[in-house]
Symmetry: D2
Subunit: 279 residues, 4 copies
């Protein structure tokens, strides 16, 4: 179980995203409200696009709440696309190579949930990864294998279709091994321009996922809210759980849905394993 945040908009200081909100990701690392597990202290990661060829990533294995380097970097770096993730391990080792977001070229991927009974299906799934991509797998998590399956199935060309095929394969493989509900997921993936966020689970009871409503409207409603001051009108947040209690600020992403954020706009589309919608 984990918690994550995906930001798109005008460049913001990472500190304003990660530390300032009342229920910020750093606060959630110690006391998540909606998580299956309140403590997410098994590592942290942030990825940000600062105008270089590839996004930066910072991965650490200490709990986010006492990582001084994270606080320092966040106080200096600004970015228009930010992925951040706090981890509660479901068994695999707490090490940097198991921290999200995972990166391939300009792409970042993060995941909350799990592939059920991963030890028994891991070998079959790993074999399905494109051999050229195989040596890039560095860690031991289900989430990273999931990413490489999506890449194998064309993530860089058509993310919703590639994720759908990856989920389809995971479900088939799981069922072949007698797993009832093979996939539990909220996933975010970006190329630095668009962001795709997925909420899905084999059992139809997925981990929580929310997206922010229109910031300019909120600003009119709450003229004194400091968090809103930091964000531009085009800011879009997708989060595992709301970053505060502001009434009307957050909308739940429905089950079996893919949310696409691009050019300051967002739209929802149905998501299912077999479906291969163009984005």
């Amino acid at each position: 179980m984990c918690r994550w945040l995906a930001y798109s908009g005008s460049p913001v200081l990472l500190h304003d995203l990660l530390y300032k909100p009342e229920n910020s990701l750093v606060v959630q690392s110690r006391h998540s409200r909606l998580g299956v597990e309140p403590v997410n202290g098994d590592g942290f990661g942030v990825g940000w696009y600062a105008g270089r060829e590839v996004p930066g990533i910072y991965h650490c294995i200490e709990p986010a709440w006492n990582d001084r380097n994270l606080r320092e970097i966040s106080a200096q770096a600004t970015a228009g696309r930010v992925f951040a993730h706090i981890r509660a391990s479901t068994g695999s080792a707490v090490q940097q190579t198991n921290c999200h977001p995972f990166r391939h070229g300009r792409w970042l991927w993060m995941h909350n949930g799990s592939i059920a009974d991963f030890p028994s299906v891991k070998r079959d799934l790993v074999l399905a990864v494109e051999p050229n991509l195989f040596p890039e797998i560095e860690g031991s998590t289900d989430s990273e294998v999931f990413f490489y399956l999506a890449l194998t199935f064309g993530l860089e060309e058509d993310p919703p279709a590639a994720v759908a095929r990856a989920v389809e394969l995971i479900e088939e493989t799981g069922r072949r091994h007698g797993v009832q509900y093979p996939v539990q997921m909220t996933v975010a993936v970006t190329d630095g321009e668009s962001t795709w966020a997925f909420r899905y689970s084999s059992e139809g009871m997925s981990r929580s996922l929310f997206h922010s409503t229109d910031i300019s409207t909120l600003r009119v409603q709450y003229p004194d809210n400091p968090m809103l001051d930091e964000l531009s009108d085009d800011a879009k947040l997708v989060v595992s759980e709301p970053l505060g209690d502001l009434h009307g600020a957050w909308r739940e992403v429905p089950e079996s849905t893919c949310l696409v954020v691009r050019d300051g706009h967002e739209h929802l589309q149905a998501f299912s394993p077999s479906a291969t919608h163009a984005s």
Copy 2:
């Protein structure tokens, strides 16, 4: 805020003390029941006497619950005197030199609580430490300075008297700086033979502290309890919070009390800053 455990008795496997109990210290590190703060994820330490000249200490800055080395060491080492401590930092850095127990020769010390407004009184307290001992202070916590004050005041000769004088100095110093309640403490200290445990606070509302009742009686009462199987009849535990729900197994240490455990026996004596009881 922290949680700790002090064991005296026949040699036990550290694993049986730290991991087996229902509400073990490792479980408490993630979900303490009685602590001011439920998460104690800012470092861990264990000290054990394995028949060498000095006790061993293992200090780590990761949360106890995911430290594989702790699990490994615990599964191999046995000891008849064990101190273990999980830390929730009240501000000072999360680093090995700030982890309890602290060691001086054969002596170990650990503390739950705080010296109020430590930054403002630290200089005065540090100056009161015996100059020969001063260079041994390695970390930046109030707890370590407290230990060196107690050593300065004769801890190795008369622990209750030395701790009383240290508390007296801290209270005087705090009040001089306008602090209302300068000391909040449960402290355990041992030379590997006897253990002294203190419960005291300037405001008279101290952190929780419990000691185990007679193991042989409990064993008769609960013939099937696995935790009791691991412990010898002479086992004595002093803990920040009970390690399980066994009715009758734990007795609260009263406020302003020093509990002495020696030769398989224990007795309680009043403790107050000005009092200088012989042990």
Copy 3:
């Protein structure tokens, strides 16, 4: 490139093995004399048999020379079989799951050298691992995959034969991928009773490997040597490089050789990939 040490004999304090010798493994971590790379600062591991069902292992990612916990544990633990390893990464991540020795049940394995062009052959090798063993692979090193191949080929029944078959597979696989010299290795493996040490490389120019000569003879020769005082007459050491300059104390293990240490005796036997000697 790495350096290692394998001890068999009467129980010794780990500290006497790891810190006391003039050119101890901890000294080598900073200044190896015979290594391809003088600094072996990319992690450390020690495995020891202390009479429990499985040996203990301690893995750390800091350089051995400044790991205080290693110093503490070494000062407390004694064992009759000890494996210790300092790592100089050839590319894979510095993380605990990549530290040697690797463990499977009662077995420990450590390796100095490499599987050439590992990224290009890794997938084929991993597929050859017995599916039941596959989920146990936790890290990303060539050395761990090598271990699981040996286990797949019957390491627990006939170590020299199993290692020979694993080497054979690695060489075949490497050559199929155009690698000229696929294997470079010194390997040590033990079940806690016997130790097998291998020196081999596809090009016939293997990493250095030495074993100790008879301790009782040395003791007569050097009555004042403190290191010899710590060791029993039956002590046998196999090491990447001599732990000191004592003339006559160390003998090189020849190329393409398996050294077996058992019951205080040792013997050498030829080792080659196709050969499947019974031990």
Copy 4:
């Protein structure tokens, strides 16, 4: 013993400073050429000014050469003033609070060398620190106490005078404790605008220190050198040892000298403990 680098000039990517040069600081961390100790693997730190109120600092306790986060951050962050430091501990713990550069407000400080027999003089020196500054001392190094002494003596008003008075105090204190040569130092300090670099030792045999010659002249001389391409004409580097073998690129800073870099210019001035030059 440590090694450091101070950059002033047009904004550069940290990666170009820390990784690109042939004998970069990261290379030096494993194989310093001129250092007393070739390995500087006991922690790393970098401070950079990115236009915020305070400079950022990144401190890590792993060797610089295998710190992935350092590589990531360096590939994203640009700054016009950069301090970087690799540490070889002379005894104090390897922990983030002992990593250089140290920070106070907008000021950064780093030090190579030592205060001789620090344990015996530490108490006296710490007492001389301004009481208001005292609680800011977080670590246990001589270098940090030296910084706070300089701050006590007016570092923020007149750096050369303040450092001179701090050195004077350290020498007096050391001599009172029977220390022959109390100070060994190269020090760099900056407020983000000007940089002051000092080379001094009580025995007159100071650690190595170099500064770069005019970049535009070098560029004419070496039109094909890639490192020069990354640097602007106004770039000034002060370093413990040259970053490469380019003939004419580096000039030694003389003994007992303070080098001041400001507005793209530099000048040398004599430095001695009793002297209190205005800068």
